[in-house]
């Protein structure tokens, strides 16, 4: 039988479960290699900072993929949640407590509450209408930053965030920050995979594949979409919260549509719906952006061309390009693909 599918089913043990597979070995090797970045960059602290920024970008990309990759809802305003998380956490750290375990949840709660309210309206829309409304909403948040500049710092951004603490100990070194951000990313990726294989994840995939049919099997499609939207918003807010604590400041640009466009590019570059792909796309994009922008002011032109190239030649993104090779390897080993 051709076209065996990747098992999304939690209906029973996956074929080959508990067996050491090349994919598993590769994943562990990649995770370990990532964890060792601070060791390799002892002589180049700038690279470590860049890697930390890439980890935040990867978190943001995974958050958008949680929505788009699972349910097919495309957001053009995802940076709104990133910026909301950054401002909410930054204000909490400045005005209340710089303890990571107190300030970060403020961002998560703010995103969950607001996304529940906004999402209840937005998820009734589909396709372009949903995308445009998300863009409009993020621009409203962007405008609010200027409207309440006494609180947010307006154009200057939110500055003077104290050095955060973790159980009372200051997180000051770049290495500690990298490990915190990277560890969060790995944990989020693992959670995203677990979610994909859960009944909820399968229901989301069903909605992505055929929302009408999902409705007619009795699924509460609107409610399930709302859960995805809220989870995605909360994860983006987590990325924003870590971003502001890491940088000690944030600016209105974090909420701008240009930032939302970049998140979309991360996801498309890596491969929509592949979970790891968007994270890889974000890392490649961030590293290339840092490198190219130091060489030429016209770096955006090159990125535009790359985006067009990816969409036309490899619509499945970098992950999609690797898939045929992976399938050949799996076939040779006689494994489910």
């Amino acid at each position: 039988m051709k076209g065996r599918t990747i098992s999304h089913a939690p209906a029973g043990p996956a074929p080959g479960a508990g067996r050491v597979t090349p994919l598993g070995v590769l994943a562990v090797a990649a995770a370990l290699a990532g964890a060792l970045v601070p060791v390799w960059t002892q002589d180049a602290p700038f690279v470590l900072v860049m890697a930390s920024h890439a980890a935040v970008a990867a978190l943001l990309a995974v958050s958008l993929d949680l929505l788009t990759g699972n349910t097919g809802l495309l957001s053009f305003g995802h940076a709104g949640w990133f910026g909301l998380g950054a401002y909410a956490c930054g204000l909490a750290a400045k005005g209340w407590s710089a303890e990571l375990l107190l300030a970060v949840p403020v961002a998560l709660v703010a995103a969950l509450l607001l996304s529940a309210a906004v999402g209840a309206i937005l998820v009734r829309q589909v396709g372009k209408a949903f995308a445009i409304l998300t863009l409009a909403f993020s621009q409203v948040l962007y405008a609010l930053v200027f409207l309440f500049s006494d609180v947010t710092g307006g154009e200057d951004g939110l500055q003077g965030i104290p050095v955060p603490t973790f159980f009372g100990r200051e997180i000051a070194s770049q290495e500690a920050w990298y490990w915190l951000l990277y560890g969060t990313l790995v944990a989020v990726l693992a959670a995203a995979f677990a979610l994909r294989r859960s009944p909820l994840g399968c229901a989301w995939l069903g909605i992505r594949e055929n929302a009408e049919r999902a409705h007619f099997v009795g699924m509460h499609v609107g409610r399930l979409k709302l859960y995805a939207y809220m989870a995605s918003a909360a994860l983006a807010a987590l990325a924003g919260a870590l971003h502001v604590l890491f940088n000690g400041a944030t600016s209105p640009e974090t909420l701008h549509w240009f930032e939302s466009g970049k998140v979309l590019m991360y996801m498309v570059l890596g491969g929509v719906g592949t979970i790891v792909g968007p994270a890889v796309g974000a890392v490649v994009f961030t590293l290339a952006e840092e490198t190219l922008s130091s060489v030429t002011d016209a770096w955006l032109i090159y990125f535009g061309a790359l985006f067009v190239f990816i969409v036309i030649v490899a619509p499945g993104g970098l992950f999609g390009l690797a898939k045929p090779a992976w399938r050949r390897l799996a076939r040779r080993r006689g494994e489910p693909q």
Binding site: M1, K2, G3, R4, T5, S7, H8, A9, P10, A11, G12, L195, S198, P199, L200, C202, A203, L205, G206, E209, N210, E212, R213, A214, H215, F216, V217, G218, M219, H220, R223, L224, Y227
Partner: protein, 250 residues
């Protein structure tokens, strides 16, 4: 009566798509809706299955008035539909297609985790539904790679997973080869005989409708022009003169 539709009406602009339609479906019967394109059959289906709300009239399912009920509420009550175009989850395996429906019925769709015994129960039930339509050996196949006839059968298996008492099938034979048509027709009969289901079918294949149905309602321009057993419909002058003469002659 399993299903009673009385004086159902809906208009789109000036077009009376369904105009005072009434008919009844006996429990355990195969009841077909016949009529040319544009007769209002699919609109009537949409009204009964909760995709559209009627402007007036009533739909009774068993003893309950289900007029205007949403699709998910009707599913819970036991009314399930299949679609004119095959409507499945194409990139999921056949087993996962049916498992989704089983979990939806059991209220488990939004769960993050299901206990192992319940998980096994869902899987067994889904496998049984696939076996009922002859797809057990294709359980792990991606739905989009199944043959057209098998995709139709999968569509029915998804419906069976919802433990219906009434299945409404919108053109189940559309676009199928002769062999596949016979396969689906046999499946329809088996569902009635072995599972005791009631089936309402919209179909253009007059010959097949005559062979399968216990009763037929004929529609034209949004109205019922005849209602009776196949022999009565075959001999109904109004129906024959209107548009079915050629088909009946075969």
């Amino acid at each position: 009566m399993m299903l009673q539709v009385e004086d159902l009406r809906i208009s789109f602009g000036g077009l009376k798509a369904v105009d005072g339609v009434s008919f009844s479906v006996r429990q355990g019967s195969i009841h077909s809706l016949l009529g040319p394109n544009g007769a209002g059959k699919t609109t009537l289906f949409n009204l009964v299955t909760g995709a559209l709300r009627p402007m007036s009239g009533t739909v009774r399912f068993g003893s309950r008035d289900v007029t205007g009920w949403s699709a998910d509420r009707l599913v819970q009550a036991g009314v399930v539909r299949t679609f004119q175009r095959t409507s499945i989850f194409k990139k999921l395996s056949a087993l996962e297609n049916v498992s989704l429906a089983v979990r939806a019925r059991l209220g488990l769709a939004a769960r993050l985790r299901i206990p192992a015994p319940l998980r096994a129960e869902v899987r067994d039930e889904a496998m049984q539904c696939l076996a009922d339509v002859g797809l057990a050996r294709h359980a792990e196949a991606e739905a989009q790679h199944l043959a057209h006839g098998s995709q139709r059968a999968l569509d029915v298996a998804i419906g069976l997973a919802l433990k219906p008492t009434l299945i409404m099938m919108d053109e189940p034979l559309a676009g199928m080869s002769q062999g596949d048509r016979q396969g689906i027709a046999d499946l329809v009969l088996r569902l009635r005989e072995e599972k005791g289901l009631t089936l309402v079918i919209v179909e253009h294949d007059v010959g097949m409708v005559m062979r399968l149905s216990d009763r037929i309602t004929v529609m034209q321009y949004g109205k019922v022009i005849a209602d009776g057993e196949p022999a009565e419909i075959r001999d109904n002058e109004a129906v024959c003169n209107a548009y079915l003469k050629g088909s009946f002659a075969q």
